[in-house]
Amino acid sequence: MELNDANLQTLTEYLRKTLSPDPAVRRPAEKFLESVEGTQNYPILLLTVLEKSQEDVIRVCSAVTFKNYIKRNWRIVEDEPNKISDPDRTAIKANIVNLMLTSPEQIQKQLSDAISIIGREDFPQKWPDLLTEMVNRFQSGDFHIINGILRTAHSLFKRYRHEFKSNELWSEIKLVLDTFAQPLTELFKATIDLCQTHATDINALKVLFSSLTLISKLFYSLNFQDLPEFFEDNMETWMTNFHNLLTLDNKLLQTDDEEEAGLLELLKSQICDNAALYAQKYDEEFQPYLPRFVTAIWNLLVTTGQEVKYDLLVSNAIQFLASVCERPHYKHLFEDQNVLTSICEKVIVPNMEFRSADEEAFEDNSEEYIIRDLEGSDIDTRRRAACDLVRGLCKFFEGPVTGIFSGYVNSMLAEYAKNPGVNWKHKDAAIYLVTSLASKAQTQKHGITQANELVNLSEFFVNHILIDLKSPNVNEFPVLKADAIKYVMTFRSQLPKEQLLEAVPLLVSHLQAESIVQHTYAAHALERLFTMRGANNSTLITPTEMAPFTEQLLNHLFKALAIPGSSENEYIMKAIMRSFSLLQDAIVPYIPTLIGQLTHKLLLVSKNPSKPHFNHYLFESLCLSIRVTCKANPDTVSSFEEALFPVFTEILQNDVQEFVPYVFQVMSLLLEIHSNSIPSSYMALFPYLLQPILWERTGNIPPLVRLLQAYLEKGAATIASTAADKIPGLLGVFQKLIASKANDHQGFYLLNSIVEHMPPDSITQYRKQIFILLFQRLQSSKTTKYVKSFLVFINLYSVKYGAIALQEIFDSIQPKMFGMVVEKIVIPEVQKVSGQVEKKICAVGITKILTECPAMMDTEYTKLWAPLLQALIGLFELPEDDSIPDDEHFIDIEDTPGYQTAFSQLAFAGKKEHDPIGDAVNNPKILLAQSLHKLSTACPGRVPSMLSTSLPAEALQYLQGYLQAATVQLV
């Protein structure tokens, strides 16, 4: 591509077309440019258009196109062709800096970005003169140019702030320091001098202050990895000037904008960062300067206003103080009572105040307000910084700080008392102050777990919190009400139970408040209180204690869902779920009404599921309604089915992916309640459940397996008689599942149910295939999880079909197979089996193999008899796994495994553990003793001799114990 007018003209036209709003014009132009960008001279043509075009839009368009071109093509990837020719590369590097500096700002920015992309690849080795070229421009005296250089330098050097130390990196920094540090320092001094000269010229000052901010950013990057010798030697110059700049004010530079930070704020904020860097990393060298900075930053805080534009500066400044005051050797800077008082009064208290911006968020953007305030996503707010400072100061001065704040809290409360209507924000600040002072450790689950002992939380509750909770007008001072509710929630673990009980009905009444924040907090507080544990691991607040308020609680919770803005409020729905779970039987009378409301809600949200938490708790609440009601009267299950199936059908038909796994779980719960047979409505759905497409979604697998298990438990006979043609499909699901390492255990759940419940004849023809598949998987990828499930299954098979059947089917697949499995899998691995039921199945299954399988006595398998018995005794005598207590009520939904993945497990659809052996065997040890006794009487003398020759003494001793307990003797 020649560098000539015709080509320039063509390129200009294509660039113009890329700006067209009409895709039919734009797309082909973009395609064309992409197709020619590999041609030599293309970038040079772009730069020429950028330089020479008379039209600004074309110039900018060319700059953007150039930058994107560089971004896509500059990096040379190993084993891939070089996408830009070497002469083009050289020409670009030779011209770009100059071009950038002489371009208007909009273009300068694009070119500066391009330079840093090139620099990242080529600097310093392949672009050795870049730095000197840049430094030389410092002499130009033209701050438009200088700022261009500084901006470019910043984009080149800022990676020093986050990359790992390496010789390569440090060599580069050293090189930069050698050429750049001295001129930068000179520029810094000269710029400051110019600020004096032009102190009254606002336009000049603006440019100069941008330079100073950029210089300060460069300082941060260059000093980040380690303290360079040059900057150590010139610390005086830099720090003195930084300090002066921090204390500087210039009326001209103050902006009217309330939101956007001005130049002065940006500069000071960066200087705070620089000081914090030195204080943290180069403490020893920085020590002489530090007290000055502490004073300056604190004065800065005292004189800075409440506007949002100062937020970054203030939070940086406070964080600086917070990090310094925790360090033992700076303790003295703060320990004077006057200093502490002044920091508390002038820095902490003002920054805890509720500002108009907070007020707006409280009213108009409650969702974000709640997330920030409740869930702590407030990392860089003033309040958070002020809290951190309180915590920092408490490290050494907890007593004095608490004392000082108590004074403030009292005076602010007194102010409030004088005129609540006007001074309510004082009380808000007082509560915030108490909270930040008292909180030493906190989690979402338990609220405050460690409190400052110097703060009397209970007294404060009685004197200042209760009064707002009790206020007859729930809609007055919503912020204070929200504060009071939050106080109860935050300190729930610290307050005595009487006070919590006193608060409960008050919280219930606040559910009616119009303010979203307020009723949300009320719901959340109730929900948290209901999860607190009392004595004996039961709930702290009992259903009996709740009895007087039950109706009102349920009533208000459901009404709150009707308040505008809260129709899908997850906190309210969670509170509903938790209330159901707490109240249990007490909700039964209300369910007929409530189930209609819940179903209606479900229908609405299923049109467009958008709040996953809300939806989850909605399903949990449905499950609880069913469980609690049907526990009292199982016959009511059909009324639930009537209410729910129409909605469920719609969800399944429309394939509402988010809800399908939930529907399967609720259906399982319902089906499991049926006592004898399976209703035909379920059977109609059976073929649908076997469709591969459903199983492709991992989130469906666990609930579908569970549902199929319920089908097998209730309807195995029906399936065998009316849907035998579906059995291969059912086994196909099993096969699909065991092929996956992630889902194999689900496959075994299904297989176990099939073996346990299906009439034996209906599966006879498939048995051998099943085992072959299991062996194939065992051979190809054996995992502990798989082996455990496998062992449980073969022993269940032995229990169900007998040990002989097991041995015969193994040996029919391959000679000696049974012995190999016993030797290589059962004996060495059986101790890994966990779970009481699983262990029991294995114990009974192995007992049968030992005592009811002639091959074990009379073939070469005999040598395995004693080792297998020994393994069984080991299984008995291993310390029992602690089973998880049955207290689902306390489960935090976020903690349940599976949540947040596609499978959303419902805690309250929970399945009772199923024991396929049940009461038939109460004590497997006794069964073993009795079975051995039976065996020994069948072939007298053999058992004792095998025991005495092959069983270790310790195992023998245990066995004697079992025999004694069973009162049998071996013969």
Partner: protein
């Protein structure tokens, strides 16, 4: 990625940590590119003799000025006197040169060299007939050699080395001492001159002067010069030379003078700053108990090199570390970790980090000897460099310690302390901390107490900090933080193997493959 390499590199500095046993370690970071000023605590490489003698006549006013003209005039006079034949003039000229070279500020080293005086000065070293001249010439050359490498090179290339070695034997103590000093400066220049001196037999000549009646001042210089002969790597001084010097250095380590002790300790620190074979040579002398004793001294100038030596030794093999432990180093470390100087705290933490990289028996000894409390203190209150070493100690400890040991460390408050450090402005340290957190979680997994640990991490504000790191500019850090969050604070995914045929309505049941023989 260079980032990961660096982490590995530091990792490989710890024994037992993912490195080939044959690979030689470079122990100190000092070999990397440095941005900082040279360490102030290190002993000096070269020294100029600026001490004024008692008989010093007051310097004439023009001698005190920095005026270049005066200097060049003086140098011309010196050249004239020195090149002349009159012994008295030679002495005077030489003395004038020595005085110029001994000025506190801006001694004209280069000018003296360029005036061509060195040939004559070296020649004067051989003038046994004129001890004063010998002395003045030796002093002048000492000071020239104290300059930059270029200056030292000039002195050596004028043939001063054999002359100085010969002078060591001078019956005049002050002349011999000056020769010791000059040789020290030459040895301090670097490995090549050091080895050149050793080739010329400097060691036996020096050791011959190490007698019980040698005055303390003389011994100080001698010890310093010996230490410079032990100094520098790439290459190290050859083994035979080390073997020659070691007995005398050990002897000096028992001297009562602090300055002698200090340089003798520095010598040991240089000798131990190398591969395990080098460390072994030192350990075999049985010096460890004395080194440990020196750790308890008050003088920083003794403690610093003694601690450096111990630090080097415990970065050696497990056996070498055990030897240091058996010598009692663990009872000396706690007070050094609480030393008022942060540089000592840092070195002590470094030593602990290396011991923590050992087998769990040695970790147990850290616990038994009460090192965890001061370690946690350093994590909380140390200066940045100390905190960084302490963090490494925690990470090493948690990756090699038993579950019980890790639990113990957490109970001592280390977890909270490192979580607080997640906000440090040093990317590598942040990554190392994330590593430690991960190790602690692995221990919790074994105990089935992940939930408890999650709560603890959240309680002390650690979860917020880890979450915040998910926005970190550095990819490795961001990924490590994300991995922790995903693994312990939320849920994880799954994977697949074999496949099953499917139609629209069903999966097809049945083993598809040809039968293979099963063998488990």
């Amino acid at each position: 990625m260079p980032a990961e390499n660096m982490s590995d590199k530091r990792m490989s500095k710890f024994k037992n940590k993912g490195k080939e046993p044959t690979k030689m370690r470079d122990r100190r970071i000092a070999e990397c590119v440095e941005l900082r000023k040279a360490q102030r605590v290190e002993s000096i490489l070269k020294r100029r003799n600026i001490s004024s003698l008692g008989d010093e006549e007051p310097l004439s006013p023009e001698f005190n000025t920095d005026n270049e003209q005066v200097i060049s005039a003086t140098i011309q006079e010196i050249v004239a006197s020195v090149n002349g034949d009159c012994p008295e003039m030679q002495r005077q000229g030489c003395q004038a040169a020595r005085k110029l070279l001994s000025r506190e500020r801006n001694p004209p080293l280069k000018e003296i060299v360029e005036a061509g005086l060195l040939t004559r000065f070296v020649e004067f070293l051989g003038r046994n007939d004129d001890p004063t001249l010998q002395f003045e010439a030796a002093w002048s050359l000492t000071n020239v050699a104290s300059g930059t490498s270029w200056h030292t090179q000039q002195v050596v290339e004028h043939g001063a080395v054999p002359a100085f070695i010969a002078l060591l034997a001078s019956p005049m103590l002050n002349i011999s001492e000056q020769a010791v000093w000059a040789l020290g400066n030459i040895a301090g220049d670097g490995p090549s001159y050091r080895d050149a001196l050793i080739e010329c037999g400097v060691i036996p000549a020096l050791l011959a002067r190490l007698t019980p009646d040698a005055p303390v001042g003389y011994l100080r210089n001698l010890t310093w010069t010996l230490s410079n002969l032990c100094r520098n790597k790439n290459p190290f001084p050859r083994f035979s030379a080390v073997q020659q010097m070691l007995p005398s250095i050990i002897q000096l380590l028992h001297h009562s003078d602090k300055s002698v002790l200090s340089d003798a300790c520095w010598a040991v620190s240089y000798l131990t700053d190398g591969p395990n074979e080098r460390i072994d040579v030192v350990i075999k002398t049985g010096i460890l108990p004395r080194l440990v004793e020196l750790l308890g001294f008050e003088e920083l100038s003794v403690v610093t090199p003694a601690l450096r030596s111990i630090g080097n030794i415990v970065s050696g093999s497990d056996l070498q570390t055990q030897a240091a432990i058996d010598a009692g180093v663990l009872s000396a470390l706690p007070q050094l970790m609480r030393h008022p100087k942060s540089s000592v705290q840092k070195e002590a933490a470094w030593a602990v980090s290396n011991i923590a990289a050992g087998p769990c028996q040695q970790i147990q000894q850290l616990i038994t000897c009460g090192l965890l409390a001061p370690l946690v203190d350093l994590l909380r209150n140390g200066d940045f460099k100390t905190q960084r070493e302490a963090v490494w100690a925690v990470t090493n400890y948690t990756s090699g310690g038993t579950v019980d040991q890790v639990v113990h460390l957490v109970k001592c408050g280390a977890l909270e302390a490192i979580l607080n450090l997640l906000q440090v402005k040093d990317t590598k340290t942040v990554l190392v901390i994330l590593d430690a957190i991960n190790n602690i979680f692995l221990a919790a997994e074994k105990l089935g107490e992940v939930d408890k640990l999650c709560l603890l991490v959240e309680e002390v504000g650690g979860l917020d900090r880890i979450e915040f790191l998910q926005n970190h500019e550095n990819n490795t850090v961001y990924r490590a933080a994300q991995a922790l969050i995903e693994k312990y604070f939320s849920e994880d995914g799954e994977d697949q193997c074999l496949t099953t045929e499917a139609t629209d309505t069903n999966f097809v049941f049945g083993a598809s493959e040809v039968q293979k023989r099963f063998d488990f």
